[in-house]
Structures are given as structure tokens and as C-alpha cells.
Amino acid sequence: MGKAPNLWFKRFFCMWLPCLMLILIYYSLFAIHLSFCEEYKFDVSEIEKKPYHIGGYLEFYPILFGLDKTSALYKLNFYDRDKESTTEQYNGTLQLEASLEKGISKLYVKTYTNYLNSYQYETTKFKIFEGNLSVKPSSSWIFETGKKTMSWGKGYAWNPAAFLDRTKDPNDPELSREGFILASMDFTKSFAGGNLKTFSFTPVVIPAYSGVNDDFGEVGHLNFASKFYFLFHDTDIDFMLLTGGSRTTRYGIDLSKNILTNLEVHGECSLINGYKKTKVDSSGNTSQSTYNAFNYLVGLRYLSQKDTTFILEYYHNGTGYTPNEMRDYFSFIEKAYEIYNATGNPGMLNKATNFAQNIYGRANPGKNYLYLRILQKDPFDILYVTPAITMLANSDDKSFSLMPEIVYTGITNFEFRLRGGPIVGKSGSEYGEKQNDYRIDFRIRYYF
């Protein structure tokens, strides 16, 4: 994006967005005040359907990071900067959704515009997250083509069988993500009586060529995927497959069931044929191994009598790194940092940055993880307030992040979220070597 639009976005997100949010909050509170005197009414206009729709949200999201000056990733990212103890990041996001419906066809577009101002970058990103045409000749048949997010899998924080999706951020698993360009079909059949209630078949074609899904995998291939869904014995079961050449062939299964009225259990696993794993030793030498990687996740969602929800998941990442392999990488950064301090040459640190961006920097690069989220709805009978606490832990090296939060949704179309917490771990552990000791963030969203 050019300099002028970037300046425009900077002005909008830094100056106008906070002002706009305050005006909207004031207006919403004023509207609430007016509504005290209103009779309860329900106009037909409220349910009238228009052939088009435009909506989305506007978000202001500042973050404060408390830096861990002794950690490997701090040394990697801050070696040539002033030694600060905190750093801020400002995000402004506009997500727009638009649709146009005519007969059995529907056009849908979701765009994402983000302004980010951090110690490293000041950038404005514009992306089309989704943009597709769907045709629904009957409720059994749906044809779709264009850019789409498939969202396969049953896990909440991780989805090892989501072969056609970009990786979820376990710190914010409900964020929308960019899709891929594909063509798909859904065939669904329901059955009366018997143990099999529903069957669905979803074949997908996903091209990967220069300029089209070139970040999906190796370019120059037409890939095929499919999902078979069964609602059998009140259990959701999916079988998934991806083959084609851009990524190695992989198979997946997931299931989900309410075993009690307040207890749901789910599981998901995948087998990736011929997975190529690159690792680096403490001297910076790389090696590659090829093996069949088995990933799995087991989880539950429990609702207590006091309206407390517990989400617990255990994830085994067959493509991940053992604590020793992670330690080797952190040792390499430490060595590179020592060389830089002694010689002023950042060459080794640049090499380590490259590993961080492409290999070790992905969300959860370790082998085994535990996720626990506890939410309390309407505590002390206060409506629209939801406090929660989330723990994300590497169960091999016992390092973790703990994130208490509070969400308020009492003003129509506004959502306020404040959260913050420590990132804890020994030296050489995944979370212990993260750049930050803690983070505090505040998010205001206005939906329209």
C-alpha cells in the first residue's frame, strides 16, 4: 500500500477511531435513556428481509507488553534497540461483510483492514478474508466457489484436522481467519428413525498456483479434499482427507457428543504422511527428517449448576518440537546474541530470526499442550458481564500463559474486553523464553 493511504489509515485509526468509539458509546447510552419511556413494540420493518446486507465491526485494540529482558526471544527482537521494560502496540481493525441474494444464488464478501503500530512496524493491511458465490438449488445441495473459510474440526483451541484452514490463534480462537480460493459442494441427507440421522458429503477442489493460494503449499498443483459427516447415535462424526501435491496426503477424524446434558466431549486426530521437519541445533546447523506425523486432541466442555463453563483440551502436536529441540534453538539465539555483542555482526541473529519466522515462530511449536478456559456467566446476577480465565500450557516443559479477562456486552452492539496476565516458564522453556513477561490488552468492538 502507498504512503498516502497508510497516512490516512494512521490518522483514522489513531485519532478518529477512538473519538468515533466515544461518540458511538455516548449515542448508544443516550438511545438506552430514551428507550426507558418507550412501549414494547415490534415493527414489521424489523423483520423485513432485504436482498442485500452490509455489516461488520470496527475495533480499537491497544496492547501493553511487559518485556522479559533475559529471554531468548527478547534478545532476538531487541538486540539493536534501546533496552525498554515495556512496549505498546496499537491495532485498529475494520471488518466489513456484504452480501447480495437473488433467488437460489448469494454473493458474499468479508474484508479485513488492519492498522498496526508497534515497536517493529507501522503497517496497514487489507485482505479479502472471504469472497464467494453460493448456489443452493435445494436444502440438500449447496455449491460454492471463491474464497472461503472451511473451519473443519471439533477442537476449540486447536484443529489438527483442519486441512484447508489457516492456523488458529489459541489465545483468541474465535477470531475470523482468511480463507483459501476453492470450489466445494455440500450434499446432505436426513434420515427419519434409526441411529443415523444425518449424512453430509463435502468434496472440495483447491488450486495452488502462482497468484492463487500460493501460500497453501507447493505451487503448481490442483488439490482435492473431502469431508464425510455423520450424525450417528447422537454423535457428530467427520472423516476428512486432503491429497494433491501442494501438501502431503493427510487423513483426519473428529467426533463430538453430549454424554450428559451439561457435559460435551470431543476429539480430533490427523495423520500427515511424509511430514518434513526442519530443526536447528545449538550451533545453528539445520537438519531435516521425514516421518508420518500423528496429531490428536481430546477435550470437553462442562457447564456447572452455577453457570460456570469449563473448556479443557489436551493437544498432541506430532509435527512439534520436543523440549530438548526447543532448548537447542534458544541456545542458538543466545550464542548468536553473544557473537553480536562481541563483534557487532548480526548475521547469526538474522539467521535465527529467519528460523523464528518460518519454523519455530508458529503458534504452539511444541509437542504437548494443555488448554483450560473457565467462564462465569452473569456473576452475582450482573447481566452481560462474563469474567473468564484461560491457561495455555506446554505440558512437557511446564511453562504457561495465564490470562484472566472480563467481557462486558451490556451496551447494544458494543463489546468491551479487558484481559492481562503473566507468561511463566523456566529458562529454556517455550513460555520462559518468550519476549514478554506479561501482557495487558483492551479491546472495544462496535458492530454495525
Binding site: 438506552i32 428507550s35 426507558f36 414494547y40 413494540k41 415490534f42 414489521v44 424489523e46 423483520i47 428481509k49 455489516g55 441474494e101 443452493k136 435445494s138 436444502s139 440438500s140 449447496i142 473459510t149 473451519s151 473443519w152 476449540y156 480462537p173 474465535e174 477470531l175 475470523s176 481467519r177 455440500d186 446432505t188 441427507k189 436426513s190 427419519a192 440421522k197 444425518t198 453430509s200 459427516y229 450424525l231 447422537d234 457428543k257 453430549n258 450428559l260 446434558t261 451439561n262 460435551e264 457447564l303 453457570d307 463453563t309 456467566k377 452473569d378 446476577d381 447481566l383 452481560y384 456486552t409 451490556g410 447494544t412 452492539n413 458494543f414 463489546e415 468492538r445 458492530y447 454495525f448
Partner: protein
């Protein structure tokens, strides 16, 4: 001895006859509230003790005894959310998340006094047995007991108007008899197609002192849907039913 046997025989014959009448009455109340398969537009209003309120508009589709789907039309923050109930199975679809997630009947998708089973209510006669029946002056009082543990309220006391055979008041209780909420049915309205029923339902709860919830029904009509509408694949496409 003969007399005792005759009396016993009369009692055994009388009990099932009374039970059948009460069950029949409950079925009649169900049918007066909704056709078995229908589409419905309603508004849910949560009112806080200081008078502030939050409104949700929903479109609901129901088929047969055990298939219900609901779609949030407004506010913008909830637009496109849909819920599906297939017997005891329930799912929630949030557009940003992009996939249906299994939920429980007790969980609340809107906050406040309403829970999922209020939004995806099946017929009372399908979920409850009539335990006791009283013939009052202008009303019938039915004491209902849940058939399974999957139901949100274990016990329900239902007062129905004798003329219209529609509910006037419903008390929802726990298994131990603790009152969870009371529903008051008001403003009988002719929705056409032979559907004459209360159009406003007010709810209060001792668990949320000072809070009140109101459901206003704007329209209800008989409609037949295909079974495939009530599937996970269709949840993101619920809007196309309108």
C-alpha cells in the same frame, strides 16, 4: 368382597381415563400455541432493574416433534448466529467462528433470564408427563414432570385458560421444587390460519431479582420445511429460509 373389587376396578379404570384427558388437554394447549411445523418471528427483550433494555429479534423454524432452528436477525452483534436442536442435540453457530459447536440446553445464548431451551422450545407434551391435574374455576392447572434429564426445567406448573385452552401462567421449577422463573402469557392475538394465541410473554425470576424479560411474537404461520434444513451443514444458510 365383590363391592371392594368393583370399587378397585372403577379406580383403575378412572385413573388412566383422567390421565388421558390431562395429556389430551396438554396436547391441545401445545397445538393452540403453535402448529407442529411453523415459522415464527419474535423479539426478546431483557429489561434491567434500572429500566435499561437489550433486544434480540429471532426467526425460528420448527418441524415435527424434535427439530427446531433459530436465527438471530438483530442486533448487529448477534446477527447471523443460529441455534439448532435435533432431539436432545443442540448446536450454536457463530459466523466469526465459522462452524457449529455443540452446546447444552441449559446454556444461554443471549444472556439474562432466557436459556437455549426457551428459544428452542419443543411441545410441552413431548418433553413432560402430566403428574397431577386440577380443575379450577376459570382455569386448568397441570403439574408437569420432565420425561428426561435433558430438559431445562424438571417441573413445570401450567395454568391454562378454560375458554382458549392457552397458557396463562407457567412456573418453571427445579427437581427440588425451587422456582426458577415464571412466565405470564398476555394479549391473545389472531395470527391467521386458525392460530389464536398469546402474543406477549413476560418472564421474571427470583434468581435475577428486578430483571424482567419479554417475548413479543410478531408473526407465526404454518410452514413445512425439508428435514435437511435441520442439519449442521445448513446452519450457516439459515438466512435463506426467510
Amino acid at each position: 368382597m365383590k363391592k371392594i373389587l368393583i370399587v378397585l376396578l372403577m379406580i383403575f379404570v378412572a385413573i388412566p381415563a383422567y390421565a388421558i384427558d390431562a395429556i389430551q388437554l396438554l396436547k391441545e394447549i401445545d397445538r393452540n400455541l403453535n402448529p407442529e411445523s411453523y415459522e415464527l418471528y419474535r423479539k426478546l427483550i431483557n429489561i434491567e432493574p434500572d429500566g435499561r433494555k437489550k433486544e434480540y429479534v429471532l426467526f425460528t423454524a420448527k418441524k415435527d416433534k424434535d427439530k427446531v432452528a433459530a436465527l438471530f436477525i438483530s442486533p448487529a452483534s448477534d446477527k447471523g448466529r443460529s441455534t439448532l436442536r435435533l432431539g436432545d442435540n443442540m448446536w450454536l453457530y457463530i459466523p466469526n467462528v465459522g462452524k457449529p459447536v455443540r452446546i447444552t440446553s441449559l446454556q444461554s445464548v443471549v444472556g439474562g433470564i432466557f436459556n437455549n431451551s426457551d428459544i428452542m422450545q419443543l411441545d410441552y407434551s413431548d418433553e413432560y408427563d402430566v403428574e397431577k391435574f386440577e380443575d379450577l374455576k376459570d382455569q386448568y392447572l397441570l403439574y408437569l414432570k420432565a420425561k428426561t434429564k435433558a430438559v431445562a426445567y424438571d417441573r413445570v406448573n401450567l395454568w391454562a385458560d378454560k375458554n382458549t385452552k392457552t397458557p396463562v401462567k407457567i412456573e418453571c421449577q427445579t427437581e427440588a421444587g425451587m422456582l426458577i422463573k415464571t412466565l405470564y402469557f398476555k394479549e391473545i392475538k389472531d395470527f391467521g390460519d386458525g392460530i389464536v394465541r398469546p402474543s406477549v410473554i413476560e418472564t421474571d425470576s427470583p434468581l435475577y431479582k428486578g430483571y424482567k424479560s419479554i417475548i413479543i411474537i410478531a408473526g407465526i404461520k404454518k410452514r413445512t420445511f425439508s428435514d435437511e434444513v435441520f442439519t449442521l451443514t445448513f446452519m450457516p444458510k439459515m438466512e435463506t429460509l426467510r
